[in-house]
């Protein structure tokens, strides 16, 4: 299909072979790296913005911790923690523009937070009070996709719509290393490359698909997986919020310039379980976890802020207070969330009336109305 977009030579993906090709702007010990051409993409990030990124990451980690606690206390059926992936999510989400549209998987609470979603609404599906929690149109982010990989096609189709509309925004889809084995990811790459549409494929390679290490999915790096489709890949240190911000900005600029899709592999680590139902001690070692603990994305940015005199004790206390406030509101929102009504069960299956559904709803409501006080059907 011929898109109407004008191809322009810039922005291009810089040649970069340093750090084994991994884009990194902040080293593990919190120092600014030297020589990486991606610095240019975040040259505008000043002290206030750096502090803002740290604040976001701290709040997002606090949301995650509160939700974990709510699940352990029986208030949530399940939770998929993002612990360890704060930089990948905040860095990419803070690169987005208001009219970009996100198609997430189910672990992107940090992305949803940055898009402005009320954290309590994120809990709705995990509490079982609904199948989703917000209006995608209000925040530019679809509700979580639980069938992994399915959302990459939705993003590609949405990006096709952007191209047909002649708009300059982009669609961004998040998925994990496990999802890269799904056919829908391969088909999304193929369609996006064929149509040259403005989509960013953002893979958080957190090393684990439940119990399967990433080598079960692929022996090649995920960033390389796009090459056969003609989609350039960027492998970025996913625990480095600035590097992620830079890579995502570049991918968005390419999309808006009509250069089509970009694949970003954010190399990170799922520090917690897959979900609250998982037990990582059965399949991974403490040594593995320890190796990644020292790469903690928050600690790294905090070290940089401290080294450069951008954060003091008072800043730290402020951030913690902010995070606690968000967590308290989250807990309150969770505990006061109403359960669905019987009528909700039958609502919205179709946009227009469907006689079978109405018949079943009426019959069930009549059945409920006929129950005695003990809830027995009795004669």
């Amino acid at each position: 299909m011929a898109t109407a977009q004008v191809r322009v030579p810039e922005p291009s993906i810089p040649e970069w072979t340093g750090f084994d090709g991994l884009v990194q702007l902040i080293s593990v010990d919190g120092q600014r790296t030297v020589g990486c051409p991606y610095w240019e993409l975040v040259a505008d990030v000043d002290a206030a913005q750096l502090r803002g990124l740290y604040r976001d990451m701290t709040i997002v980690r606090r949301i995650d911790a509160e939700a974990m606690a709510l699940q352990r206390q029986g208030e949530l059926a399940l939770w998929a923690p993002l612990l360890g992936q704060e930089a990948a999510q905040v860095g990419s989400a803070r690169a987005l523009r208001a009219d970009d549209f996100v198609f997430p998987s189910y672990r992107e609470h940090g992305v949803a937070y940055c898009r402005g979603v009320d954290p309590a609404q994120m809990l709705r599906l995990w509490r079982g009070a609904g199948l989703s929690g917000w209006d995608p149109a209000d925040y530019g982010i679809a509700t979580p996709a639980i069938v992994v990989g399915s959302q990459a096609l939705h993003a590609t189709g949405y990006a096709l719509g952007i191209a047909l509309d002649g708009a300059t925004s982009a669609a961004v889809t998040y998925f994990g290393d496990g999802a890269t084995s799904e056919g829908d990811i391969a088909e999304a790459f193929g369609f996006a490359a064929s149509y040259v549409v403005p989509v960013v494929f953002f893979c958080q390679n957190n090393q684990w698909a439940i119990s399967e290490p990433v080598r079960v999915q692929s022996h090649a790096s995920i960033a390389q997986r796009g090459q056969g489709y003609g989609i350039p890949g960027i492998q970025v240190d996913g625990n480095d919020v600035l590097a992620v911000l830079a890579a995502t900005r570049l991918a968005l600029a390419r999309a808006s310039a009509g250069q089509g899709p970009t694949l970003i592999e954010a190399v990170t680590y799922r520090m917690g379980p897959h979900t609250t139902s998982d037990d990582p001690t059965r399949y991974r070692s403490r040594a593995d976890e320890e190796e990644w603990r020292v790469k903690d994305p928050l600690a790294r940015l905090h070290a940089l802020l401290r080294t450069e005199g951008l954060a003091d004790d008072s800043f730290d206390q402020d951030v913690v207070a902010d995070a606690d406030e968000v967590a308290a509101a989250l807990r309150q929102g969770c505990l006061t969330m109403p359960d669905p009504e019987v009528s909700d069960l039958f609502a919205h299956v179709y946009a227009d009336a469907h006689p079978l559904l109405l018949e079943e709803r009426d019959a069930y409501e009549a059945f409920l109305a006929g129950l005695d006080e003990d809830g027995d059907a009795g004669a």
Binding site: S132, L153, G157, G161, I162, G190
Partner: protein
Amino acid sequence: MPTMSLGKALNHGLRKAMERDPKVVLMGEDIGKLGGVFRVTEGLQRDFGDRRVIDTPLAESGVIGTAVGLAARGYRPVCEIQFDGFIYPAFDQIVSQVAKLHYRSEGRVTVALTIRVPFGGGVGAVEHHSESPEAYFAHTAGLRVVTPSNAADGYRMIQQAVASDDPVVFFEPKRRYWEKGEVDETRLSDTPLHRAAVVTTGSDVTIAAYGPMVATALDAARIGREEGTSIEVIDLRSLSPVDFDTIEASVRKTGRLVVAHEASVFCGLGAEIAARISERCFFHLEAPVRRVGGFATPYPPSRAEHHFLPDADRILHEVDRCLQP
């Protein structure tokens, strides 16, 4: 009124739908210059351009999944799945996403998607080109499933399907593509998409059929009439929802019902219709509801398909069993 084939009527209906709404886009394999393997989209890319009639890469899940994204941006995609037996790679997107997004989003996301599927046998095809997978989709909440049996319905129903805010799986009886009928192009349908039609009246037995089997049922009715049996034929037109009221009214009159389809009988539409009609008008039935359809086999080689596909004789055999239970 002009006379045209079902395939041409669908083509004209799609053209009307595209003229009416600029958000209607067609997507599928070989639907552009070729006009689709059955030529249903012939000339549409020439007249509407390749931004509205889009040749897709060859991947069915990709076709449907990207259409979901387009729908999320306010488009009204019409996807062509080239053959019935090729819909399964898209099954996950259809069942897990297309059918459930409106419910999942509590009505905030509308998936105004039409999925056109040439279906059924009788054309001497190789494997995977003659199947009747409609029950899978009728079983799935959130989808509407319809099938026209003739040119006039094809012209009207495709426009109604495209205009629907719900996802519609639109099964086209491929062996009837070339059968002609009168089509009034000057007006829209005054029959709701989900209303069944009594296509010939009778008093002894009702035959409920849909898609390619309606013509076969009408043959059976004609032969029956010559043999002294008065048969009423209902074209279901819609498989989700099913218009049980129309079937019930007929059965209350005739007291006997035969359901005919190409799909295998076990767990087919006939099973649901037999159960519902037995519930609704058991005391009006003179005989058990009979079903006639494909065997519990995969679709056979084409040189044996005439055994698998119900013909007028097999339908009349079930009519006889209703008359002498």
